[in-house]
Symmetry: C2
Subunit: 461 residues, 2 copies
């Protein structure tokens, strides 16, 4: 249910979040009070449960019996939930299957047939359920999803996100041209009507978008007619809803856009000229943008979803993230599953670090991202990209409790070797523990996950 809560919470222990792009903050022995709407109402360092009960509860009008207490054990820490700014729920079954393809043949070989098959509600239910369970287990508390062109199955994705408690943007894919006969919108008008149908459905199930929000989703310029994009630009203006699409991922794609839209100055201008580039627009990939395009995106306050695993896997190229950050553009991370092979943002963090080193091999050391920076992109950066920087991405009073409890493995524990990765020997500093988690962690280290104060995943022991 939208707005479903589980009462008041006290979280105790170490909290880690981004203080700035380049710096993590480590809050030790901290007490966090989260109210029954999932909102953080108090954060106090150097508090234990007794002190919290004695001095915080009275101020909040809380009494002991009302409150669920969750304690991070020694070495464990709370971290903001990950934000996946670009993920195709409908491609989940193809994760890892892409052969030697690049974007355009990948779409035709693997992607369109899979997406098309999800017009079966039964299949869509299986696939979307698993996708949500998996991404939650990897600590993804917010996802900006692409579904398919099918209204019923896109609406089902919204229902499931609401039911599992994952914060989500739900995009019905719009594509009325250059797409296969078996998988395309019939006309610009039908694409617009179907988009409105999903918007209406979400308005019914979550009227104030507490958890689920529609997002206008022209697939990418090559599969959208100019009329369709004008329609969607007008719809954005009318509704104020966010927009997501792909941009400048692959050189052949860019050439194709040049051929299809010869009257527009660039790929970025195509979107801008159709009213689709603004402060609520999430542009995925942005691998090969010209300086002029970067400037235009900055001017329009457009946002960028960096999808490093995908860009390497289907050989798209390397996005120049340092340059985008220096321009002051907001950047988040995306799995782009299944162009990216993994549903995990932790994997996207690793790949962002590695890809930035490939950029550095040519462009110099300053191109490298640090562990701290990649973690920022996955939380506060992502929050800005989806327009929720006031609500999620870090731990501050007034923000909502979208968090994960992280536990590494103490080598002197009695756990079996497969129980949990990331061996900690005991002498590591906190920043070293974070680095170890980033490079060798997986869903086993994400012990529990909350969205808006609601426990949405827990590792079964």
């Amino acid at each position: 249910m939208a707005g479903q809560t589980t009462g008041r919470h006290l979280f105790l222990g170490t909290l880690v979040h981004s203080k700035s792009l380049s710096e993590l903050e480590f809050l030790q022995n901290t007490a966090v009070c989260v109210d029954d709407k999932g909102i953080i109402v108090a954060i106090w360092p150097n508090y234990d449960q007794i002190r919290a009960e004695k001095s915080l509860y009275p101020r909040l009008g809380w009494s002991r019996g009302d409150v669920t207490v969750t304690r991070a054990k020694e070495g464990e820490f709370f971290f903001p939930g990950f934000i996946d700014t670009h993920i195709h729920a409908s491609q989940y079954p193809n994760a890892g299957i892409f052969g030697k393809t690049t974007l355009l043949d990948w779409l035709n070989t693997y992607t369109f047939p899979m997406e098309s098959s999800l017009s079966s509600i039964e299949k869509a239910k299986t696939v979307y359920t698993r996708c949500i369970q998996r991404t939650l287990s990897h600590g993804t508390t917010t996802a900006s999803y692409y579904a398919t062109i099918s209204v019923p199955s896109t609406n089902l994705l919204a229902d499931l996100c609401l039911s599992f408690g994952q914060r989500a943007f739900i995009g019905r894919c719009c594509m009325d041209t250059l797409s296969p006969d078996f998988y395309r919108d019939e006309s610009p008008a039908s694409a617009l009507a179907d988009t409105r149908a999903t918007i209406s459905h979400i308005a019914e199930i979550d009227p104030s978008n507490t958890l689920v929000t529609p997002i206008i989703t022209p697939r990418f310029a090559p599969s959208c007619s100019s009329e369709l994009m004008h329609n969607l630009g007008a719809l954005q203006k009318e509704t104020g809803l966010p927009v997501q699409t792909h941009i400048s991922e692959n050189t052949n794609e860019i050439k194709l856009v040049g051929q299809l839209f010869p009257d527009h100055m660039s790929y970025t201008h195509v979107y801008d000229d159709h009213g689709l580039l603004g402060p609520k627009t999430i542009l995925a990939h942005a691998v090969h943008l010209s300086d002029e395009e970067v400037d235009l995106i900055k001017k329009r306050k457009g946002k960028i979803s960096h999808c490093p695993a995908s860009n390497s896997a289907i050989t798209s190229g390397t996005a120049k993230v340092r340059k985008l950050l220096e321009k002051g553009i907001e950047v988040g991370l995306g799995t782009d599953m299944s162009g990216g092979y993994s549903p995990s943002i932790l994997e996207a963090i690793r790949q962002a670090l590695l890809v930035s080193r490939h950029v550095a091999m040519e462009g110099g050391d300053e191109c490298k991202l640090s562990v701290e920076e990649a973690l920022y992109l996955s939380t506060r950066g992502g929050a800005s990209v989806v327009g929720l920087e006031q609500t999620i991405g870090g731990f501050e009073v007034g923000k909502e409790w979208d968090a994960q409890l992280i536990g590494l493995n103490q080598v002197d524990s009695d756990e079996s070797i497969n129980a949990r990765p990331v061996d900690v020997f005991g002498w590591e500093s906190w920043p070293e523990r974070l680095a170890k988690w980033v490079f060798n962690g997986d869903d086993r280290n994400t012990l529990a996950v909350w969205v808006k104060g609601r426990l949405v995943h827990e590792v079964k022991s």
Copy 2:
């Protein structure tokens, strides 16, 4: 104990291994008989247990009560054990900790202090035990290890490998120059004597090298005097033992070698001129080799360990694997932990695939490796690199049973979401299942591991 066995085995089910560099073979419903020395004595497709007992056992002189039967369930498969051709056991605690360093400052900042600290036998025992347990859990049945300069702790690594049952090459690091005062060999003579001490120790504990073999290990040219390398070259000639070292990893390292060894034509010539380049030499990295160096390595039948995770992580560059393969050079995979952040060869396979795509971004599509090729490198390729191509790397009569049982996750199973990654929906082909495993698998999918017929790891359920 060396040669420890667990009697006769019958393995039943699907087997997958490399038929050639570019092709996997899928053997369905196959029976494999492994004798009490761990040697495969029969492989018969289309056999079940009853048929095996009826028609295979009599021919082998086996009777039912003697044989341990292991059955791969529907969807599971046996795969050859992974071969890690380059791994620093002594750097395991640093896995994931490398910041923005590159090779030379990485050595001084993280690596030498850690390795030096393992002169403490107690610490070495903790670290090496965990390293072996972890690598076994990831399916590494053979590892070519670098230990440290310490003889007792290097000997301990050999003892532990023997005791855990991991096939291993054990290298005492030789480094008598340009190394910190707290961590260097006193002289070329002491380095040689210490190397001999480890060789003698292994001759005592595993006289016929059934499982553990010494490997002559000049760390890399910059940390070895010419006299030391001549000593080690002569030792190789005397003993016939394998050699491992690093080559052409980083451009600053290559410049340094040019300065230190101005009378040698190239980095490769430095080793060759000291009698250290031959058919039993494993050269790790080989990122920036000139054509002449590649030709010389080919001429000497030298082997190459490709370490893609490391090359990306510490920004060394991209090895041109396709070119090496086309030259006919034997290539295997190495984790190079902790230059590489992961103890897992499955991660090295993924990174080999991704790095080859980065090479392809500049060099063209033919540079891309396929899933099949990367799996070959991790098994048969690695076997050739460590000189065991007649013994391990695939399933043939006469080879030894170094194998892992792989299980993916059926989405309709009742397992908890964290129990096992790699969701299989049921419609995937076998090559698609392998691709899914390669890109999203981890140690949870490696249900059991055998070396020479001995069960050395099993996932606790």
